[in-house]
Amino acid sequence: MNISRRHILVLLPAAAVAWKHVLAGTPEDSPNYKMSDHWWGMLIDIPKCIGCGNCVRACQTENDVPDGNFRTWVERYHVSDYHLENPEVISPDGGKEGFPAVKVGDEGKYFFVPKMCNHCSDSPCTQVCPVGATFVAPDGVVLIDPKYCLGCAYCVQACPYGCRYIHPTKKVADKCTLCYHRITKGLTTACCEACPTGARQLADLKNPKDPIHEFLKTHAVQVLKPQMATGAKAFYNGLDGSVR
């Protein structure tokens, strides 16, 4: 095909307009982002979670998570008064489309627990990776280099929280990145942004102005499976003892 000067005159402005649209949907680059200035975590306020599944859907859309795998999911606990240690837990399709209605008259209590990578500072998954493809970044986020990962799944076995999976097409380990592409540009995570009740809040523990500090001072906050001593940074408010 011969491209004449007339073609170029038409195409160039069109390309410029298209490129402007692309840029409009892209957060600004943050060349000034310093990893050592941050120590990221997540605050999960259980009493605020309504189990709508917005966070799961937002995560799947934002991060192109394959069907059947989850970077985040929501569980619904039913703790009977008589079986405190054996809760009944469901998470249909990761809670993506919400939950079935509770039976009227059911005794015990019901509550929702959002789950995700705990971005542990002493993470067992990074410990076992044979090539160091997964690592704790200086800002506290546990990441995976997909160009380096062997896909051996040792990290999947080592994670006490079931947060990792092998990507069915990329054949590498995958999990929550705390929306690293967003938080390094000054945005919050997709799940936090989509949560209608503020049950999830991104927290920067190195930022003295972050409300997390006040929250931690005034609330009884726990991490999942503290006996694992992983230095988990997903902080749960209102965590019931039956939650695993």
Partner: protein
């Protein structure tokens, strides 16, 4: 969700370590066990089992050559596996695999076999013709001196290599146990006893494997099975099996008595999903039955033919039992949820990359390697005419 009982974390429903990962500790176990049998002759001077010495070394090498293949097939990106050598992650138990493997293969096994066979290799490089001659020439590595003094040095060095080889064999297989035993997230695996149990079960399986190979090959070669040899092997197998079983029972009793938060979940799994492979196959048929029979063979004066049959049966059952043990560890460790609230199911594929046919192939491949090695480096002297005629 199909195949799921109770609640599994959503990412746990699929098992990522398949039957190929079961094969890996099984095969390395056979290697370690076969080498330990060889070391009985070389280091501990148990001359009764000398007829199996070279066969044990070649068996160990055949299986060791295949050991990394199931891992390669399992990896999502096998082309990146050399990174484990170039950029190993110091805190990872798995990262050391390459080094331990290479050390054991090259510095111990190949070196010992070369030293042991050097005289024959040199002689054959002079007596054979064509391609074989070239192969033997290469195998001499330019070392053609087979004087008495030179062979004496080979003998001394070989002894030292075997001596180093014993802890190396323990390292190779103990380390495999450590890969599982060090996963604190998984209570089915997490145990300091795991490497020790792996080592002892490895010794039993390797010894049983070589014993069966020795008996089968002697039959095929129409030679007489050295009954003193197999009696001695069976005796060692029996004692080591007792230690192995005691360790496994210690682990079991400890879990039952301690009954921590995971116990209810694991107990249910053993009584349901793993009932056949663990209770029936591994413990009853594969351990208690051979132990009773081997014990009887020690205390009752059976005839030679009965003893041989007992040994063949027990050896076969031990191989099955140790495979079942590896299965129960690897697959069992992924069948329950880390929430301790549910169970998933493992369905073995047939023709996929990690399927049953590939697994069977990896169990046959070492035997093909062994066949080639036996042709190249016969472990027994050429039979004289009257021996060949006598048979067994």
């Amino acid at each position: 969700m199909s195949g799921v009982e109770g609640y599994m974390y959503p990412n746990e429903v699929t098992l990522y370590w398949s039957v190929l990962i079961v094969l890996y500790p099984y095969i390395t176990g056979l290697v370690a066990g076969a080498f330990i049998l060889a070391s009985l002759v070389r280091v501990f001077r148990v001359q009764a089992v000398a007829p199996t010495y070279r066969l044990a070394l070649l068996t160990a090498l055949s299986f060791l050559l295949v050991a990394p293949l199931p891992l390669q097939f399992h990896l999502g990106h096998p082309e990146r596996s050399p990174e484990m050598y170039f950029t190993p992650h110091a805190t990872s138990a798995m990262a050391m695999f390459g080094y331990v493997y290479l050390w054991y293969l090259m510095a111990v096994l190949v070196f010992e076999i070369w030293l042991d066979y050097r005289r024959e290799i040199v002689v054959r490089s002079q007596q054979t013709k064509g391609l074989l001659r070239l192969i033997y020439k290469v195998m001499t590595l330019g070392s053609n001196n087979i004087s008495e003094r030179s062979l004496h040095i080979d003998e001394r060095v070989g002894w030292v290599v075997t001596l180093i080889g014993i802890p190396s064999a323990f390292l190779l297989h103990g380390y495999v146990g450590f890969i599982f035993g060090s996963i604190k997230a998984n209570p089915w695996w997490s145990s300091p006893l795991m490497p020790v149990v792996f080592i002892f079960s490895a010794m039993v399986s390797g010894i049983a494997g070589v014993m069966l190979l020795y008996m089968a090959m002697t039959k095929l070669r129409k030679q007489t099975i050295d009954i003193k040899c197999v009696d001695t092997i069976a005796m060692y197998m029996f004692y080591i099996f007792i230690i192995d079983f005691s360790l496994e029972m210690l682990d079991l009793v400890h879990r039952i008595y301690e009954a921590d938060e995971s116990f209810r979940s694991l107990d249910f799994m053993v009584h349901s999903k793993l009932f056949f492979s663990q209770i029936v196959l591994q413990i009853c048929l594969g351990t208690l039955l051979p132990l009773v029979l081997l014990f009887l063979a020690q205390v009752v004066k059976f005839s030679e033919i009965v003893r041989k049959r007992i040994y063949v049966f027990c050896g076969s059952m031990i191989l099955i039992s140790v495979f079942a043990m590896r299965w129960n560890v690897v697959i069992g460790g992924q069948l329950f949820s880390k929430s301790f609230l549910g169970y998933t199911t493992y369905k073995v594929d047939l023709v996929t990359k990690e399927g049953l046919l590939v697994a069977i192939g990896f169990l046959i491949l070492p035997l093909l390697f062994l066949w080639a090695l036996l042709k190249l480096l016969p472990p027994w002297p050429e039979p004289s005419s009257h021996q060949a005629a006598s048979g067994d």
